[in-house]
């Protein structure tokens, strides 16, 4: 295939990727958008296979089959609550692929490497390698396997990282000037792997979603750099699109958390130990002023409600309670109550977390309202049911300038006539701070696992 035909097909492919992403902006077109993007990918790979540069097809075929089989199996066994982990792993392998492309290009051009090319190869290897090990650490932190979710801090950590970066810069420059000495490239790979581990371990497990979005961006940048190496505009464009997406998403999360990206990356924060034991009653007892209510109390209030807003939070994900939420909503709907959902942009642990889980439970997406759409309606609402949400309904964000989340936009749950809060204890949420909403006069605390409480509520209402 002549080069200009390949270029033309790659251009069409780039446009398809852009169109595909654009179609992700409405739920009605999103599935087709993803499909178009997949077609573009197939077209890109197919065209590359047909360019004539390739002499050895068997190994490629074997590798593609292996990758496909693992990909299919993995995508069907993963649970919706494990999405962040899954994205982390895929990011990681994507980064590894870019890193290895860089390494092989080094060998392929060995003998006629010129400084620009070698410098681009070094950059590709660096970013790809950091993406790989960084993502793997993020994955392990989320699963709390091998590595604890707690920030791993040690003295002089930032200095060590700086020294590594300086070393990498030195190695890269040396290679660019004199690319004859291949082992230098391998040292570069090794140091970059190490750097990827070291930049992620000081970050707490709870901050991992931000890190993963950022690593998503890196994997795009690595692909773009590979495009610079291969003078391949398709890689450059597509990588840039992914790079922009990752930065946009991590920025969205940071804004939602009222923190800067620097604070996330270098702050050493973001670990909230899981509430270990204690039990609802005990916890409720500790808090003193808190009034715990029974299922019967709640059912009485709900029986006379005309309108309900459900506010889900991380607790719904942790307790896998999305199906029970839907069940309760249907019972209420059957009683003639208007039920809607108020979704905070950073409820849960990743952007859009609640939407995916509720969609999984077959909640129609037109009932899922964004904060701006629903925030004025709380004051006209009879009951707000808070299912495992905490920070995103904390009124201190509006009222208490000394609060760390002051200024973060929150849902006005407290304006509803009655607020029912479903959680297991008085433990704080992600931000680790008290929530005065739980002490309000119009708040009914319903302690217990969200899933259990919701089931009981639905059954009691049905019996009426």
């Amino acid at each position: 295939m002549p080069g200009y035909v390949v270029d033309a097909i790659y251009l069409v492919t780039s446009v398809l990727f852009i169109v595909g992403i654009k179609m992700l902006s409405t739920p009605a077109s999103a599935m087709r958008g993803n499909f178009i993007s997949a077609i573009a990918m197939a077209l890109a790979v197919g065209t590359t296979l047909a360019t004539g540069e390739i002499v050895e097809y068997t190994s490629i075929a074997i590798a593609i089959v292996i990758g496909t089989v693992i990909g299919i199996v993995a995508s069907y066994i993963v649970k919706m609550t494990q999405m962040p982990q899954m994205v982390a792993v895929y990011n990681g392998v994507g980064g590894l692929a870019s890193c290895l492309v860089g390494v092989v290009e080094f060998y392929r051009n060995y003998g006629h490497l010129y400084p620009y090319l070698t410098a681009m190869i070094a950059l590709t290897v660096l970013v790809g390698a950091v993406t790989f090990t960084g993502s793997m650490v993020a994955f392990l932190k989320l699963e709390e396997k091998l590595i604890s979710g707690q920030p791993t801090l040690f003295p002089m950590q930032h200095w060590l990282n700086l020294a590594l970066i300086a070393g990498i810069a030195g190695l890269g420059t040396a290679l660019a000037v004199n690319p004859a000495y291949a082992p230098m490239l391998w040292i570069l790979v090794g140091v970059s792997f190490l750097l990827g581990v070291l930049v992620v371990i000081p970050i707490g497990g709870a901050d991992m979603p931000v890190v993963i979005a950022l690593l998503n961006s890196y994997s795009g940048i690595a692909a773009s750099l590979a495009g610079f190496v291969l003078s391949n505009n398709l890689l450059i464009i597509t990588g840039a699109l992914v790079g922009a997406s990752g930065i946009f998403l991590s920025d969205t999360m940071c804004r939602g958390m009222n923190r800067s990206i620097w604070n996330v990356l270098f702050g050493g924060f973001g670990y909230v130990p899981m509430a270990a034991g204690g039990g609802p009653a005990a916890a409720a007892g500790q808090a003193g002023a808190v009034k715990s209510y029974s299922i019967e109390d709640a059912v009485n209030v709900l029986s006379s409600a005309r309108s309900v807003i459900i506010v889900p939070g991380y607790g719904m994900a942790a307790g896998q309670a999305q199906h029970q939420v839907r069940d309760l909503a249907e019972v209420l709907d059957g009683m003639g109550v208007t039920v809607r959902y108020g979704i905070h942009p950073v409820a849960g642990r990743m952007p859009g977390h609640m939407n995916v889980l509720l969609a999984e439970a077959n909640v129609p997406y037109d009932q899922l309202l964004e904060m701006d759409q629903i925030n004025d309606d709380f004051k006209r609402t009879d009951v707000c049911i808070v299912v495992g949400a905490n920070d995103v309904v904390n009124p201190a964000a509006n009222t208490d300038p000394s609060s760390p989340i002051y200024g973060m936009p929150v849902l006005n749950a407290e304006q509803a006539k009655t607020v029912m809060v479903l959680k297991r204890s008085m433990n704080p949420g992600f931000a680790g701070i008290e929530n005065a909403l739980f002490l309000h006069d119009n708040t009914m605390m319903l302690f217990g696992d969200a899933r259990a409480t919701l089931t009981k509520l639905a059954n009691a209402l049905k019996r009426q």
């Binding site: 990727f17 992403i21 992700l24 902006s25 739920p27 009605a28 993803n34 993007s37 990918m41 790979v45 590359t48 296979l49 540069e53 390739i54 002499v55 050895e56 190994s59 490629i60 590798a63 292996i66 990758g67 693992i70 990909g71 299919i72 993995a74 995508s75 899954m86 994205v87 990011n91 392998v93 994507g94 290895l100 492309v101 092989v104 060998y107 400084p115 620009y116 790809g128 994997s219 795009g220 692909a223 773009s224 590979a226 610079f228 003078s231 464009i237 597509t238 990588g239 840039a240 699109l241 992914v242 997406s245 998403l249 979704i343 859009g352 939407n355 995916v356 969609a359 997406y365 037109d366």
Partner: protein, 95 residues
Amino acid sequence: MVTVSVLMVSLYVFVLAVFVGFEIISKVPPLLHTPLMSGTNAISGISLVGAVVAAGFSHEIFTTVLGMIAVVSGTLNVVGGYLVTDRMLRMFKKK
């Protein structure tokens, strides 16, 4: 200075693509942020295109093995990413 002019062309394409990326992605509503994340994650497997070249250019065992690892990784990223995104998007239904 042919290499610098190659760099310049690549830079133009990169800069424009970054603008396109930010503009189109900032229009995706929060409702679809998780599929956006996993969908663009699948797209980042585009380095598979480079990996295929890497795995197929010669019969030398060393680079072929490295290339194969790259192809397995890239394919996993692409196939897994698209399937998981599709699975997620199928769940979004209107009343």
